[in-house]
Amino acid sequence: AQSVTQLDSHVSVSEGTPVLLRCNYSSSYSPSLFWYVQHPNKGLQLLLKYTSAATLVKGINGFEAEFKKSETSFHLTKPSAHMSDAAEYFCVVSGGTGTASKLTFGTGTRLQVTL
């Protein structure tokens, strides 16, 4: 069994300030973890993924996330928010391999960026 909890449904930051989107996971397997972004009326875009290599993962557009097994967390951060970062962000877990490797999504965090 696997699940993801996104701790904030809505986060608001000012442009130029840091972003922190929190995610905790649960998985019976050694998990792979992902962050996807979804802009309004657009498809899901992969930001970054963790698949048991380096625990600090760098993604696109300046985002990064750190896998912390002891805390079962995979929080997404960015040093300086940009207006174009406003979107819905999904933390996703995948456990198992081959036919068992399905994705389970969190409920999403809406990021608002203000001037």
Binding site: F34, G43, T51, T97, T99, K102, F105
Partner: protein, 114 residues
């Protein structure tokens, strides 16, 4: 490489009508998924195929939803009859089969049932 193709992009139907969605995955991707994303929620897995066999359809409402993947390539998802609560975006994704190899999502089909 070409992405995951889905059609139609939008569909509006009346309740109790039927509707079908089509997905063409990335060439060579053995695993194909259909997800339902209701407004304001995260995507929920409906069905997972490995080649042309069903791996997981535990959350597919089988009394009204059906899906097939003929020849292990394209897939269709059908709803018959549709209910108001089926209004959602239906996303198709494909992968080579392991998380390390990544997943690619299509742009989705937005269904509105009136």
């Amino acid at each position: 490489e070409a992405g995951v193709a889905q059609s139609p992009r939008y569909k509006i139907i009346e309740k109790r009508q039927s509707v079908a969605f089509w997905c063409n995955p990335i060439s060579g991707h053995a695993t194909l998924y259909w997800y339902q994303q209701i407004l304001g929620q995260g995507p929920k897995l409906l069905i997972q195929f490995q080649n042309n066999g069903v791996v997981d359809d535990s959350q597919l409402p089988k009394d009204r939803f059906s899906a097939e993947r003929l020849k292990g390539v394209d897939s269709t998802l059908k709803i018959q009859p549709a209910k108001l609560e089926d209004s959602a975006v239906y996303l198709c994704a494909s992968s080579l089969g392991t998380p390390r190899q990544g997943y690619t999502f299509g742009s989705g089909t937005r269904l509105t049932v009136v």
